[in-house]
Symmetry: C3
Subunit: 273 residues, 3 copies
């Protein structure tokens, strides 16, 4: 179903402009390179529009937000919209501070996002900001249980309608929705939450998949499955060698460059809801 998504990335080598945090920025650069895409990081308002102009996708990640970079995010986002290239939002910590929540709100007002990827609590913060989704009673805990899948998928669809973006909610179970269709994805491994950056890396590769695919929903789902399969593979490797979380991250990024579309199609655990 993913129509050679990985092969296409390797062929087109999309340049992905990341305005991101300083915690996981190196992992984002390296996972994009391993995947076959090309990263560029630039966050000064004097240059972001030019950098976006030469890029195939823009990823905005608010992980270590500061006042200097918010303006850069808006300038770059508007430029990306103007150029009609995909823009991904990773609202890291939305809901955890007023700065993050308000910045997320401001970004959503000024930029049309192609995809928004976050955990359930970040995405629900966005939901609470959007009048059309107000009142949707999504699960209040931070994980998507089997019982709550349908409710969460419904919430994601409504948020997709409200924002115009594909919504990727990631956790033990992942949900990727546009306004009509939800994918429920069960790839991945709990160890992925024991390293810093799996979410950020996923947002960055979502930019690469969206840049080289035809259908945004499928591109976002392909990114989620790919990341999850890399996590599964990395976990198998550390089990064999008796190593731990840092080796896990190394193997995960390694496998991003090793896996191919056959592995992706064969191992994707995905159903339509």
């Amino acid at each position: 179903m993913f129509s050679n998504a990985l092969k296409k990335i390797k062929e087109t080598c999309p340049l992905v402009h990341n305005i991101t945090n300083y915690v996981t920025v190196n992992d984002c650069a390296n996972v994009l390179l391993s995947l076959g895409a090309s990263p560029i990081m630039a966050d000064d308002e004097l240059e972001v529009e030019e950098i976006t102009s030469m890029s195939s996708a823009l990823v905005i990640n608010i992980g270590t937000l500061n006042s200097r970079t918010v303006q850069s995010m808006i300038l770059a986002g508007k430029k990306a919209n103007e150029m009609n290239i995909p823009v991904v939002l990773d609202p890291v910590g939305a809901g955890a501070s007023r700065l993050r929540t308000e910045t997320t709100f401001r970004l959503l007002n000024e930029i049309k996002f192609t995809a928004i990827r976050g955990n359930i609590s970040e995405i629900k913060t966005i939901g609470s900001l959007s009048s059309t989704t107000r009142g949707v009673d999504a699960d209040n805990s931070d994980s998507i249980t089997h019982e709550k899948i349908s409710d969460t998928a419904e919430f994601a669809k409504k948020l997709s309608i409200a924002t115009g973006a594909v919504i990727s909610i990631t956790g033990a179970i992942d949900i990727v929705s546009d306004r009509e269709k939800s994918y429920i994805i069960k790839n991945g491994h709990p160890m992925m939450s024991k390293i810093s950056g799996t979410g950020c890396m996923l947002s960055s590769i979502t930019g690469a998949f969206a840049a080289s695919g035809d259908n945004i929903l499928d591109s976002c789902a392909a990114a989620v499955c790919t990341m999850g399969i890399c996590g599964e593979e990395a976990y198998e490797k550390i089990m064999k060698s008796g190593s731990g979380t840092s080796s896990f991250k190394t193997h995960l990024i390694d496998y991003m460059g090793i896996m191919d579309d056959n592995v992706l199609e064969g191992r994707a655990k995905i159903e339509i809801r």
Copy 2:
């Protein structure tokens, strides 16, 4: 003697707010996760108080100091004091520039620190700022020799009285002191000085140990022993595989999540002075 320090961290999963440098920030996040704690990095003055408010400990590291973040450090530190959660200071490079020395002085004046962790030259810079310790003739070289242990332990006790903080001086031999008691710790391996970030990582995990332990002195000592044992284990691993410093760092972070309280109690090389 460490009363299940590691188990308690895994059970309580303390959220540790780090205002730190951009060189080793990723290692700090990953070592906290490997240990079983939860990291959060936020340094903008518009949000640090809120982030500290939801945290169980605050770690202030001046590794790549700039004027924008000093004010954030002070705001977060005051909030942590108000909430009575542990605050750890890592005065990276204090003494190397006036900016670092004066910022350290300012932080010490405005915030009551629970623990201060640095190498001997950084800690002696702090000693020289404190009138009650002025004149203490601690070792002027950058390492604590066997001969100088008693003098340095005495200096650390006096500095603990002057600052109200537990003092962790780390190097080939480590000294952890409160106003009355010093632990002399001989865990660790020289290879730890061949990677960037062992000091920063130790300061970050000191925050986690302090957040979940009852006795600050013992918590700081448990953090130092844990880090040292991880270094010993990582060294053994690279000796077996013939690898080098970058593998050493990977193994060190790996082992942070693998070791348990039995290993900690069994391998801690600690004596009271």
Copy 3:
């Protein structure tokens, strides 16, 4: 020909001040430590001159440029010139945005660089700024082909005359030139372009080699060969273990600390043009 370059670094342990980007800064610190040098990262204008004053070399890398750090770069560069220690420029992305191009121009006007290291398109951007090299018709593609080696070496010599710096152009084939002599270097592996930071790491170790060597041209060439050999070795290792790009980076930094002058002399693929 490299007169024990690696041994000298290990003996003198030069302190290398890096004003660099937040993407690869951790790799730069760790590769310097693995090599036997000592890194220091500081970018605030209130302290850079003091930090440069105690250092043996300065490396300026514009990878994630912002207005706050440009002034710091100039202050530190002027101080390094005053002290007569080597200053290396890594003009990351020069030509990709006006900010980067103009900043590169400004740095070249205000600081006398000992060495400039970049890829062919970055170095050609510098060439286009320099009136004495205007009109030099170097290869317009981003790689140095066998056919274009002579032209590129000639261009590098002219740019060395114009700037006073040794010019290191790196890619599949590397060219290191002063005003009279060019080294053509064929070490390295294509996998080096699949990780973030090989260029930045090379610029940082160029600072260490220049600080401890007698001849700048030979020091720059030794750095390029050393980096390339580490890449070759890392590639062999991942081939044996079936791993990928992230393991490649680990092995590369590992080998930086394992190789010695015999390996460097024995494996350097270098010819004079």
